[in-house]
Subunit: 452 residues, 2 copies
């Protein structure tokens, strides 16, 4: 049952915690899902949260711990002994979650906790998982899975599955292996339900199964699961032996993180932050791109300095500097974002760069003509000087063309050199386009003011 | 098996299609997943695609049709008779996909296709689904599910499930209902595997099941599935009767679309576009925000016009206009994006607005002091006039404070009035901050130039 955390509820809970009234708190949290308790935790202060955590049974505590934000989790773990972490928490987690939590501990602490785990097989699986890079299929997968041998029949398989199923929370697929543990295929539970009890597994399995290798990057895993609408995906090692499985809920997190990373880059934020992070972390995440902008601004000031004499004679030139710079920035961000999104969705083929540029050029011409035409009308209406009128419209058109092509090229080039193309969105692109835009504006201005 | 669409492969395929060599094309596509065929389709021209489509068996054709982009799907359907659409395609689709495809047809065409469906029960389910708003749980759900009565035992349930399972592709959960079809709980297949054959379902079911109503908005459905790590979610009607189920793969699409929408808004793009869309559509999606920027630029030009006399005397003031405007824009986008992302992730509570503003204020002070300090040093080093030096640094600090608070407030206010807060990112926020930023700059400039 999902619950809503009203202000009243939190006030009541907070009061009961202050009175250290364990029974009331436990009753209040009855029927709460671990995800709700984790959300609740963020609403409490540190002492209240610690008290709350001590009231949870081991299994719930383990689930809540996984759901917490990393900073909160670190705070909870700091106050617990390695023995409690090992036997009450880690032993109650799936291997993938256990490896994630252990990966966040210091090396000493990790060793201590590992040495205190009671279930040796579980500990071994966790150690295996810790060896994979966290951004690969190996780092995402869990060891808990149901597997049967292709040489078994349905009855034997169901008997063996009953044993294995105790370890596994939810069963979506059964993986079929041969005697050397090589992945041969999958068996849907539906098929198992529908088949006679003496059928051989090798006759029932679906053999053209999609799998990834332990070293497949998580972004690629996400793309495969999205593309083929998969709920679970087996992971094999270099020679094809079944190593683990990835479920879609972990991939949803990967998709969300990828989207957030691109969003933060276009917004000019340089590390993954939450609004709940500390002031210092928020500041640090925002400063780098502001400094890029500042450096750009200084360069722009020097470009304008070259035209100081012109500005002294025609100060009206200054009126439309922000318009030119802003349009260059807006167009550049639009163009680069379309490329970045297209590369992420794989709707852009790098082989078609030329066609892409041609299309971008056409769009830029249409938008450029529209905006330049509007500004021409405006300046004629307000009776600006002819030189200014022509300068603004000609510069606007040129700047839109330049910013479009630049905004398209740079992320494509970055992608070609295996750099994240999203770096070329946001402040980087607006800053470089400001610079070029104003250079174009003043150069065109010199020509028109000389002519007219 | 996943395949890679190499240029060579596509060339070979394209040639075989041109020769209308059906056998070669069919052999080339053997083992291709429908998602791969759909991807292939986008690489072919219209005639080639049409030919390819005619070679697919009905079930594959139905799957490929669902995987296509909406424009491609419309093009394919345009050339097919209502009879073929009904009996070869729609009859082979799950109800949710069938309803999506039918929802894209004109009303006349839809009626025609519906009247030609052979499976009456299937048709009835599709008509039911068509009545729901597409952005709600009802619009996302499918009717295919496995349900058992709480009064049955395991043997009866398995027998009934075998009948139902023929209709359902993958079975992840069994839903338990009472005699009035009210949802009572879920039963995992694992539980069914582990239980004795005479156990009563009512003793096995998990009763605290998370469900949504047919009118729950899809964004909320996505949040619930993400929060509770669900793979499938039952949907009930107003009085709690089981109406359908939503699977995570459909929600992955919702999550992706939400993320893309926010990304396109911050990039200043006003409708959902793909790089493969036509020039006209790409232009139309980009023009609105460029016009907002242009209007802002004109207003800015009038603000600067108020200070024309000052500029004539101190043209150096113009040097740092772009720096001030760009910083205001960058800071505003950063602040607004943090709010928009926090609201989407539900990590921001609207009740804590004041605390949020205070934090933002602290971050802005730190960043403001850093940038103002750097500019002070720079201007002293390059021996700018004292008036300009102080003006730039004081204005920069004020502008950063203003842009931070404005960028935080506006999306929060929009959200309060149920307007999409993401509208306040991108060009809107940069334009308003340009305007205010330059007003602040020139006003401060007047003071310092009068004093020094």
């Amino acid at each position: 049952m999902q619950v809503e955390l009203t202000r009243d509820f939190i006030a009541t809970l907070s009061e009961s915690i202050k009175r250290e009234d364990r029974d009331v708190v436990i009753r209040l949290l009855e029927n709460f899902h671990s995800a709700d308790i984790a959300e609740l935790y963020t609403q409490l202060n540190e002492d209240e949260g610690e008290f709350l955590f001590t009231l949870l049974d081991n299994e719930t505590a383990a689930d809540v711990l996984i759901e917490l934000e990393i900073d909160d989790r670190k705070r909870v773990l700091k106050n617990l002994s390695s023995d409690i972490i090992a036997r009450q928490l880690i032993d109650n987690m799936d291997t993938d979650d256990a490896a994630d939590v252990l990966g966040e501990l210091s090396n000493n602490r990790k060793e201590e906790v590992l040495s205190r785990l009671e279930d040796v097989e579980h500990a071994g699986d966790i150690v295996d998982l810790l060896s994979y890079d966290e951004d690969t299929a190996g780092g995402l997968m869990a060891k808990e899975l149901i597997q049967v041998n292709e040489n078994w029949n349905v009855v034997t398989s169901i008997r063996e599955m009953r044993k294995q199923a105790e370890e596994v929370d939810e069963v979506y697929f059964v993986y079929v292996v041969d005697n050397s543990n090589m992945l041969k295929g999958t068996l849907s539970l539906k098929k198992l339900l529908l088949s006679s009890r003496t059928s051989q597994i090798s006759d029932l399995l679906k053999s053209d199964v999609i799998s990834v290798r332990t070293d497949t990057p998580s972004e690629e895993v996400a793309n495969i699961m999205k593309k083929y609408d998969l709920v679970a995906l087996p992971v094999v090692d270099q020679i094809g032996r079944l190593a683990g499985r990835i479920t879609i809920d972990d991939i949803v997190d990967v998709i969300q993180e990828e989207a957030e990373k691109d969003y933060q880059l276009i917004a000019g934020i340089s590390e993954d932050i939450e609004p709940t992070d500390k002031v210092w972390i928020l500041t640090r995440a925002r400063l780098p791109w502001l400094l890029v902008g500042l450096t750009g601004g200084i360069l722009v000031s020097q470009v304008i300095g070259l035209f100081e004499a012109d500005l002294g004679i025609y100060p009206e030139m200054a009126f439309f500097m922000p318009l030119i710079a802003a349009t260059a920035g807006n167009v550049g961000v639009q163009s680069s974002s379309i490329v970045v999104q297209g590369l992420a969705n794989q709707t852009i083929q790098i082989s078609k760069t030329f066609r892409r540029l041609l299309k971008e050029f056409s769009v830029a011409c249409l938008n450029g003509l529209t905006l330049a035409g509007l500004m021409l009308t405006y300046n004629l209406l307000v009776k600006s000087s002819l030189a200014l009128t022509f300068t603004v419209s000609a510069a606007l058109f040129s700047v839109i063309l330049f910013a479009s092509l630049f905004g398209t090229m740079v992320p494509l080039l970055l992608d070609k050199f295996k750099v994240d193309p999203a770096l070329a969105t946001g402040p980087f692109i607006t800053t470089s386009n400001d610079l070029m835009g104003l250079m174009i504006y003043f150069s065109i201005g010199r020509v028109f003011y000389a002519l007219l």
